[in-house]
């Protein structure tokens, strides 16, 4: 390490502040975070995804996701121009270790990372019998694992297949948009680990967030728009064959 002294004096306090927020174990440590200032969403840029599976591994590490279940996963599509309605899709172990090598042919390939869409009109929160799953005031659909009965009704109601019952805790589990991170100024684990910037956390209530400009200048889709779920994960250049 070759850090000169002057730099240390400037950077150490900055690092210390960053450390402090990382150390923060309770909401009180982040008193500047007001839920009503935020409306969280995510942008996924399809042309940038290389199917490396970093996001799947990072999410599993950050959130202790049990093997065989996925808070996020990547699908690989193989679509022929002669048959757009029947794509060939694989997701080996959710794409956790990447994908097998594909050999070029006449059909096109692309990767689609998927996760909870944190729907504004979520069908999953609608069906919970006791109020154990809900959308927070800042737009993140969460599960209260101390209250959940494990009835799995929400799992049935999600059109995107993003929920599962935790095999040990026996309660519903799913992507939390790394709520414990984003409320402290960090980004989600999947965005942090993505090497190409295919995944970007976005705050729709923040006027300075680049997503506003992006939404105005690109062709953006959501998954299963006919379900009218108010999905907040936006995809750039999502092919029509994507299920």
């Amino acid at each position: 390490m070759n850090i000169n002294r002057r730099r240390i004096l400037i950077l150490l306090p900055a690092a210390a502040i960053a450390w402090k927020s990382v150390l923060a174990g309770t909401p009180e440590e982040s008193p500047n975070y007001k839920m009503s200032d935020h409306w969280w969403s995510m942008l996924i840029d399809i042309p940038k995804c290389i199917g490396c599976g970093n996001c799947v591994r990072a999410c599993a590490a950050e959130n202790d996701v049990p093997d065989g279940n996925f808070r996020t996963w990547v699908e690989r599509y193989h679509v022929s121009d002669e048959n757009m309605t029947e794509p060939e899709v694989i997701s080996p172990d959710g794409g956790k270790e990447g994908f097998p090598v594909a050999t070029a042919d006449a059909a096109k390939y692309f990767f689609v990372p998927k996760m909870c869409n944190h729907c504004a009109d979520s069908p999953c929160t609608q069906v919970c019998p006791v109020g154990a799953t809900f959308i927070s005031p800042d737009g993140v659909v969460l599960v209260d694992q101390k209250y959940c009965l494990g009835c799995a009704y929400c799992v049935q109601a999600c059109p995107y297949g993003c929920r599962y019952i935790h095999p040990e805790k026996k309660v519903a589990d799913k992507c939390t948009l790394c709520y414990h991170r984003i409320t402290k100024g960090l980004t989600t684990a999947c965005c942090e680990a993505c090497p190409t910037g295919a995944r970007q956390l976005a705050d729709l209530k923040d006027p300075k967030d680049p997503i506003h400009e992006f939404l105005k200048t690109h062709s953006v889709q959501i998954l299963k728009p006919q379900m009218a779920t108010g999905a907040k994960v936006f995809y750039n250049d999502l092919d029509g064959s994507v299920r």
Partner: protein, 159 residues
Amino acid sequence: MSFFKDAGHLFRFAGLFVLAFLVFLVVRHFVVPKSFGEYGHYRGASIGEIAAHPIKFAGHQTCEGCHVDVLDVKSKGKHAHVNCEACHGPQVKHATADDPSTVKPVLPDTAVLCARCHTASAAKPKGFPQVDPADHSNGMPCDTCHKPHSPGMDAGGAK
């Protein structure tokens, strides 16, 4: 008056209902969590509980706070936008240790790590740098020739 005598049993049955309902109300008052309904039909305190989960990835800003020299090299090369922990894995223990040098992260094996992104596949975007590892390096670890923080051979990243 005789109606009450003849229907007395019905009033007793109804009485059981009323009693059970009152007991229910009392129990409910004690059992339902206090923060329930604070923001909606859920336990408001759960938001704070979820926000308090432990963090595993420190985040690149934290790494860059100390590792300025690496940042200098990386920001000029092809891996400028690849975050530290994308390759080095979750490092919060290292970043938050009193003496980070006591929690030294294990350096990733480049033969495995780099292949994940850079193995050539028709499925990957055309412009993305990708090679067939067997052809390209014959199984040699990638950092034999490439500097991971600035891997481009022409931009001074060659070893």
